[in-house]
């Protein structure tokens, strides 16, 4: 079974989904992520779904589950890079992902979490 890699950037964990998500993969990801949040003491989780073209209600619920799970461990979740077709599908499925923050791309997601961006001037973070 394929596993989704979890990368650590500063105090943020980055989950970039590049593969077709199977239900098993999703469940494994949730476990891995919970472990990593505790181990690293991360403040934020960014789920990058730029490469995801198709979602179903199970994956839609995954975002909400990860978000509430992370919040219990004091980490905020941001879903970034959602494609228009995916957004429309989720809305049609009636999933509005309450409690999950979203951003257009990774950069904006990092900014949302207040994480320092590479090359950013100190103090310039979070002005927008």
């Amino acid at each position: 079974m394929e596993r989704v890699p979890i990368l650590k950037i500063g105090e943020v964990l980055l989950v970039s989904i590049q593969i077709d998500l199977q239900d098993q993969t999703v469940l494994a990801l949730q476990e891995d992520l919970a472990d990593r949040i505790v181990k690293t003491g991360a403040r934020g989780v960014i789920i990058d779904i730029t490469a995801v073209d198709i979602v179903d209600s199970f994956i839609g619920r995954m975002f909400a589950t990860i978000a509430s799970m992370s919040r219990l461990m004091d980490a905020e979740t941001v879903v970034v890079g959602m494609r228009p077709a995916v957004a429309i599908t989720l809305v049609e499925l009636g999933l509005s992902l309450g409690g999950v923050r979203t951003a257009l791309d990774l950069e904006k997601g990092m900014r949302l979490l207040g994480a320092p961006l590479p090359g950013a001037r100190p103090g310039a973070v979070g002005t927008r």
């Binding site: 959602m82 228009p84 429309i88 809305v91 791309d105 002005t127």
Partner: protein
């Protein structure tokens, strides 16, 4: 049908008095269309028809009939595109009856009169053909225009760096909402905008269905990380929304586009200062 000898009066008349009948027909038809089409064009069209009619009157049924219908259809379609009314289009066909009748009267041939009744009902059939083609062409035009309208009426404009505007004009139905939603989301990705202002000043009425469509659009934009502001809520619309019990939840709504833009600018952290002389 009775024998060919008896039937020969009218076709003979159409042949021998061709110029007189055709000339009168063109004159009558030109009167009906009142100079919106040149007499030369009209004459060319009607001459073609006349030739075909002459052939169909001679034979009972056959190739000429289909050809005549095709030619007539073509003319009616053109008339529909040029904006002539259906009666004007049909009248130019019916004018033939009067032109022929006058010639029949001039000859005083009683047999020709009785044949004229059959001829008249044929012309009526042709008139019906023009009517049908005309309305079919009109419907095609309407369908095309609806499609064009759908493309035209859903612009997504950039109001500011990071702020998109969607001025909605006209009634929102599911097909249009789909187009609006798709265009907006595509543009969000292209421009990386943080805010979108949906302006409904041009939406004549908001009912539960329209509100549902708006909510869906806002939700989809939110999923992509963009905040939406709905602006242009007129007093009557506000009353309707409250009366219908529609909840916009935590979606920001503003009375005017200017308010919405100011809000979005404020949220983006952009401060506008009044310049000298302003």
């Amino acid at each position: 049908m009775s024998g060919g000898v008896e039937k020969a009066h009218l076709p003979e008349l159409l042949r021998s008095r061709r110029d007189a009948v055709l000339g009168r027909w063109v004159a009558l038809a030109a009167e009906g269309v009142r100079g919106r089409i040149t007499e030369r064009e009209l004459r060319a069209e009607l001459t073609e028809l006349y030739d075909l009619i002459e052939r169909t009157v001679g034979e009972e049924a056959g190739g000429a009939g289909a050809e005549l219908r095709a030619a007539l259809g073509e003319i009616s379609r053109n008339r529909a595109r040029q904006g002539f009314s259906p009666s004007e289009t049909a009248l130019s066909v019916f004018a033939l009856k009067q032109a022929v009748l006058e010639q029949v009267g001039a000859t005083g041939d009683v047999d020709a009169y009785s044949e004229f009744i059959g001829f008249s009902s044929r012309v009526d059939d042709l008139g019906l053909v023009t009517f049908e083609t005309y309305s079919a062409a009109r419907e095609q035009i309407i369908a095309d225009q609806m499609e064009q309208l759908l493309e035209l009426s859903t612009p997504v404009v950039k109001l500011w760096d990071g702020i998109l505007g969607v001025p909605l004009v006209g009634t929102l139905d599911s097909a249009r909402t789909q187009v609006v939603m798709e265009t907006l989301l595509e543009r969000l990705v292209e421009t990386g905008s943080q805010f979108a202002v949906i302006d409904i000043t041009g939406v004549p009425a908001v009912d539960t269905e329209v509100a549902q469509h708006l909510l869906k659009t806002v939700m989809a934009a939110r999923l992509m990380g963009t905040d939406c502001v709905i602006s242009g809520i007129r007093p009557q619309i506000a009353q309707t929304i409250v009366a219908l019990g529609i909840e916009f939840g935590d979606i920001e709504t503003k009375a005017t586009l200017a308010d919405a833009l100011a809000y979005a600018l404020g949220r983006s952290g952009i401060r506008l200062s009044e310049g000298a002389g302003a």
